[in-house]
């Protein structure tokens, strides 16, 4: 099998790449926010609305509903693979029942935060670089006095400190570890398997925020032995408004094992239509897993599109996706360091080696008025990157001071930018980015 990505044919799958603005093609370097969508996924969504725009979940007994259901849950008679099954296979879950459809990563993390039965005084351990979606749900529980939130600071070289992690587990009453698997700020991917093994040795459950991992490399939840994994389908070529919470089957069923459920099992947070099999004026019986977690009419076109997205990625091969991103990132890193590494005002965030940052390259600039560079890149060369705090305010405020985005003297200005790559990006795009950035720096008198 060829290890290189067939870029030309892949790029033809993405209608957005054929758009032109001021005669220029888009250079989309913001895939950590959300990715472009291939026509195969668009077609799957289109077909839903055109041909069987009905509800799923075995509510209705007509053929429209059957078509929807078959595409999500599969149909062994006709050999149709459902999207839930496809996603389960994509991350090597034991069963499709371990796949809960959510709105996005944020929703999936909140399902665990609000559904986990904590005891007062329980500690939830995070990293120091959580996305707000992996931080704020826990801070709310802390503010309510239910848990304590603590964080593990990265070790030297910005990498996960396994020794310190072990010490924390020995000395604190940690009930759950909830950590960002791949940082959306630095691109660093933690050694999750080793971390989870240590956590389990101490009887502690682990949830990973896989928003920036699952789209970029092969994930095997069984090999990792992770308890919960949250990710967003819209960050992996799928439709917006669809995410996934993977949970080990026994941790999704808090009623079993004598009503107490296994330790660390979660209960559904939102109840209503679709989550129960029966109710009377005084009580209700919950439906099976995962249905009990999917309340109300769902985003069926999105869930069907999720299957198409996963299939698309599988056809490319996740090893190829990862290798391609690192190839581009290595080129960008080397060029940027060569050009600006000695200036004193340019710094790449996180580990310096591109191989440790996957498809993410974030940099901090300390120059007067170093704001508005993403807008300028967009206006000049149709290049799309992001500037700001990337929803990791907590870490950046700690690093740079709480006022770093507030008005200050031009000579004190500081800004961070993020380039995030995916398999559809090219070396030529990287070169255009480097040249345009250099022109902007020159024009501003930075060089």
């Amino acid at each position: 099998m060829n290890s290189e990505i067939d870029l030309e044919s892949i790029r033809e799958d993405f209608p957005a790449l054929a758009c032109r603005r001021n005669g220029k093609p888009p250079i989309y370097f913001d895939s950590a926010c959300t990715t472009l969508v291939p026509r195969q996924v668009i077609a799957a969504i289109d077909q839903y609305y055109a041909n069987y725009p009905a509800c799923g979940g075995e509510r209705s007994q007509h053929w429209f509903a059957d078509e929807v259901n078959n595409r999500i849950e599969g149909d062994t008679d006709s050999g149709i693979h459902g999207s839930r099954q496809m996603i389960a296979e994509f991350i090597n879950a034991r069963s499709p029942q371990e796949i809960i459809f959510a709105l996005n990563t944020t929703h999936a993390i909140n399902m665990v935060a609000l559904g986990f039965r904590f005891q007062p005084g329980d500690v939830v351990l995070l990293t120091d670089k959580e996305h707000n979606s992996g931080l704020v749900p826990w801070l709310r529980l802390q503010n309510r006095g239910l848990i304590k939130v603590d964080r593990l600071v990265s070790g030297a070289g910005e990498i996960f400190d396994l020794g310190e992690f072990r010490k924390r587990l020995e000395n604190q009453r940690i009930r759950l570890v909830s950590m960002v698997y791949t940082s959306n700020l630095t691109g660093y991917t933690m050694p999750a398997k080793e971390m989870i093994k240590v956590a389990h040795e101490h009887g502690v459950k682990v949830m990973l925020d896989g928003a920036q991992t699952v789209p970029h490399e092969a994930i095997d939840v069984r090999d990792l032995d992770v308890d919960f994994l949250a990710f967003s389908i819209h960050k992996m070529c799928g439709p917006k408004g669809v995410g996934v919470l993977y949970g080990k089957k026994e941790l999704l069923d808090y009623e079993s094992a004598g009503g107490g459920g296994s330790d660390g099992a979660i209960e559904p947070v939102i109840l209503g239509g679709g989550t129960v099999v029966d109710s009377n004026y005084g009580d209700y019986n919950l439906a099976e897993v995962p249905t009990r977690f999917e309340a109300g009419i769902q985003n069926y076109p999105g869930q069907i599109g999720a299957g198409a997205a996963v299939q698309y990625l599988q056809n490319i091969g996740m090893a190829r996706v990862k290798a391609h991103e690192i190839k581009l990132n290595s080129f960008l890193t080397e060029q940027l360091i060569n050009r600006y590494g000695d200036t004193g005002w340019f710094r790449i965030l996180g580990p310096q080696a591109a191989a440790e940052r996957g498809g993410i390259l974030s940099f901090a600039l300390r120059r007067p008025n170093c704001f508005g560079i993403s807008r300028e890149l967009s206006e000049r060369s149709n290049i799309m990157i992001r500037g700001g705090a990337f929803c990791v305010h907590s870490y950046l405020n700690h690093e740079f001071g709480a006022d770093w985005l507030k008005p200050g003297l031009p000579t004190d200005h500081l800004m961070t930018y993020r380039v995030s790559l995916y398999f559809y990006n090219t070396m030529e795009e990287c070169s255009v980015f480097l040249d345009t950035l250099n022109t902007i720096f020159e024009e501003r008198g930075y060089l």
């Binding site: 707000n132 007067p368 008025n369 704001f371 508005g372 560079i373 993403s374 807008r375 300028e376 992001r386 500037g387 700001g388 705090a389 990337f390 929803c391 990791v392 305010h393 950046l396 985005l405 507030k406 008005p407 200050g408 003297l409 031009p410 000579t411 200005h413 800004m415 024009e443 501003r444 008198g445 930075y446």
Partner: protein, 132 residues
């Protein structure tokens, strides 16, 4: 960036931002907050302008900002134009006065000037209401 802005801005970077700074108790505090700064920490676009007024005359104008070069050029010119003016004269400020400070045309500067003039007039109105 417009070429006229580039020239002016590079001069600022080279020679310094002479109006940058703040006053502890300004007579008027003007501020522009661009939308998007807070959601996920969007990128900049925020200027705070401090005016010191004595006997109806703007004795000093200073600013702090987290904004792009064009905005910074606009606010430097704004402070220059305001210093020494009476409030009456300040309310007569117009876009053309900003553009005269550049060596060439700039549509972007015109837009920034327009919004600065608007917040200035609002600020002066409030100041007069508070001191009359």
């Amino acid at each position: 960036m417009d070429q006229a802005i580039v020239k002016n801005y590079r001069r600022l970077v080279r020679d310094g931002f002479k109006n940058a700074g703040s006053y502890e108790n300004p007579s008027i505090l003007l501020s522009t907050i661009a939308s998007g700064i807070r959601i996920c920490g969007g990128a900049g676009g925020y200027v705070r302008i401090y005016l010191n007024i004595s006997d109806g005359v703007i004795e000093g104008a200073r600013y702090l900002c987290s904004c792009d070069p064009t905005s910074n050029v606009a606010v430097e010119i704004f402070c220059d134009l305001l210093s020494g003016k009476t409030l009456e004269e300040a309310t007569a400020l117009n876009e053309g006065m900003f553009l005269q400070e550049l060596d060439g045309p700039s549509n972007d500067l015109r837009k920034k000037a327009r919004s600065l003039i608007k917040i200035l007039n609002d600020g002066i109105k409030q100041y007069r209401a508070g001191t009359s």
